[in-house]
Symmetry: C2
Subunit: 395 residues, 2 copies
């Protein structure tokens, strides 16, 4: 049989990063290509203990069907935590559990955009979200990314030109792939534009709790007086991504529609994992837990940055992150970036992600590469950056 796939998914391809990741399973390859949190930071003993308690004390709760909205106690704890961070207003928001922030972003798109409606995103941006949006046939428009976030003039210009502008998708903290933080000034401007042009903002904040230097900046959700912001959060980076637990906080009408779409997608998220997250929020001293996490991420980031300072050609521009998982490097214009990445993995066994993987049009030109410092070990970071450095000085 010859399959005719639906128009929306016909051209949808597996993430280009997957091609790079194939190499990372090979022996001796050092991978800076992943987007995984630091495994040594997982509170494995805590999870082992809690899991045993859950399965001993109330196995049926952990194994039977549950409600789509998520475990009530977990929703309550998250509402309190989000309220404390001004990302949830009990008078005008609701919050449900999702299967990772990925599902929160996907479903917000599904309920808000018709095929052909415009969704604006940072360029470059997170490929997983871009593919989710593509799978609904939306008109995806990348807005150039500046040091302090999306170019607001370019955004307004694009909104004015669009026949059906609907949603702006941003990752304001330690953005994937650039590691950049959107300034408060731009957050305010973004919200103002959303109000002026009647748009919804999807604020994706998986890395927000991973700030290891500098001062936190208020979320866009905290500026929201009109119910225009759908805020996606996740346990993937602060607890463990294998659990697949995220959440979305937004106006009740929006949450209600997202809930119906979640029900038809997976009925509910794995309930054992929700119970683990509940115990995590209830029993863990969050401030000291996060401080421990920050120490791990800061150390690994500094280790990579020290290596770059020592070994990389001064022709490479790079940016010191204040949090998150990624460090963004830009090669000189005259270098062939894709060739550099291919050579790195095939000849030197160092995997990095070429910047064009994160563009709306993957065939467009990019001179940047994304380096991940959370997944490799300290020894791998030291060795890998030295090798990459040699490559940069011998081009």
């Amino acid at each position: 049989m010859q399959y005719t796939f639906s128009e929306n998914v016909q051209s949808l391809q597996p993430s280009a990063i997957r091609e790079i990741l194939k190499f990372t399973g090979m022996p001796d390859v050092i991978s800076f290509a992943a987007g995984n949190p630091a495994p040594e930071a997982f509170p494995t003993e805590f999870i082992e203990k809690i899991s045993a308690e859950i399965l001993r004390e109330d196995p049926v709760l952990a194994l039977q069907y549950s409600i789509t909205e998520g475990y009530p106690k977990l929703r309550e704890l998250l509402k309190q935590r989000m309220a404390a961070q001004h990302c949830f207003d009990p008078n005008r928001d609701d919050l449900i559990i999702t299967s990772g922030a990925q599902q929160a972003n996907e479903l917000a798109c599904k309920v808000l955009l018709n095929k052909g409606d415009t969704l604006f995103c940072e360029s470059p941006s997170f490929i997983g979200s871009l593919n989710a949006f593509r799978s609904y046939g939306v008109d995806l428009q990348g807005i150039p990314m500046e040091q302090d976030g999306m170019d607001m003039d370019a955004l307004e210009n694009a909104i004015q030109k669009s026949a059906s502008p609907k949603v702006i998708y941003v990752i304001p903290n330690f953005q994937n792939p650039t590691g950049r933080v959107m300034s408060l000034k731009k957050r305010k401007k973004l919200y103002e534009l959303a109000c002026r042009y009647d748009l919804v903002i999807i604020e994706d904040n998986p890395y927000g709790d991973l700030r290891f230097s500098g001062d936190p900046i208020p979320s866009i959700k905290s500026l929201d007086a009109e119910g225009r912001v759908s805020y996606s959060g996740s346990f993937s980076k602060i607890l463990a991504p294998g659990l697949r637990v995220g959440y979305v906080s937004a106006a009740p009408e929006l949450i209600s529609k997202i809930t119906v779409c979640k029900q038809v997608s997976d009925v509910h998220s794995n309930i054992w994992a929700q119970l683990i997250c509940t115990a995590f929020l209830e029993q863990m001293d969050m401030d000291s837990y996060l401080e421990g996490l920050h120490n791990v991420y800061r150390r690994k980031c500094n280790l990579m940055a020290d290596g770059i300072r020592e070994y990389f050609s001064p022709k490479i521009q790079w940016e010191m992150p204040e949090g998150g998982l990624f460090l963004w490097c830009t090669l000189p214009d005259e270098w062939d970036m894709p060739k550099f990445c291919t050579q790195a993995v095939e000849q030197y066994k160092i995997a990095v992600v070429p910047g064009n993987a994160f563009l709306v049009d993957e065939s467009a030109e990019s001179h940047s590469i994304r380096l991940n410092y959370s997944t490799p070990t300290d020894a791998q970071i030291t060795k890998g950056i030295k090798i990459l450095g040699k490559m940069t000085t011998s081009v």
Copy 2:
């Protein structure tokens, strides 16, 4: 802000069963309205033991990001099991893990149908799947259900009339809500029609392993020589639904597209749960385990059937299931079925699901009700059926 939702989801409503289920949380209400497997049959000690082993021996595997296709060992074991049941051919099929069969059905729809394309289903059918299909704006057409499955003449007629026939969705074993089994003759005819009119069949088989009497009938997938059948399976009814682990077996091109859509939906399914399912298939003596499960379901079904024989008015038609979770009763035409259901729950505190909840057009007439015997306790079944019986004789 006034939200304008996408056209596909605008009219999408939470399942009507949810309204009934609200009552089931109230004290003293006996619920025959759920679709949950029997909680006393969960192998809780086994899961507790395996979970402890997993988290002790390889916590990072159980907590880190994993691949979209699912845990390789689990896929391998399922392929072997499906091959033994002729639901997987290693030469022309592939198989991936999904977040329940719900996700398998949803994604098969997403990749195969454009808005307005026709999907044919049994009428009545499983409301969760119908809502999933509705959420992609497909033209959903219900084909009348006969004792031995979908009316094949009506199906062929509807196919011929459709401008864009694409998919037939069926639950051939112990169908939800009727509990009926599609005959082999009709399975062959259905496949023949799919070949003649170039359609894909989504064969949803969550209850197939729950046959407690009569002889198994070959799956439609086992008749498939052309790669037209996408087979959805699940651990929800044989292990535990809270895990949210299902799978889909189909031609590699179809599986490949479903995989991309799964990636943008939830990246991968909870990996701890996948490891539990792996150990379950590896370590459990399946024949004797399933025999134990059948004993539980047969006993509860017989208990309900005995009560119906003793207490129900002879005006009520009902069907003795050979497996699954549901028993289907049809009230006399002159009775007001919705009123009967409302009275049952409000006055007599017995929750049942009105048959029209399972129709493509929920406002169409139905005289049937669905009774679930797997979730209530033996005592609840005995008491509840006696009360319902009194209602039927006093109408």
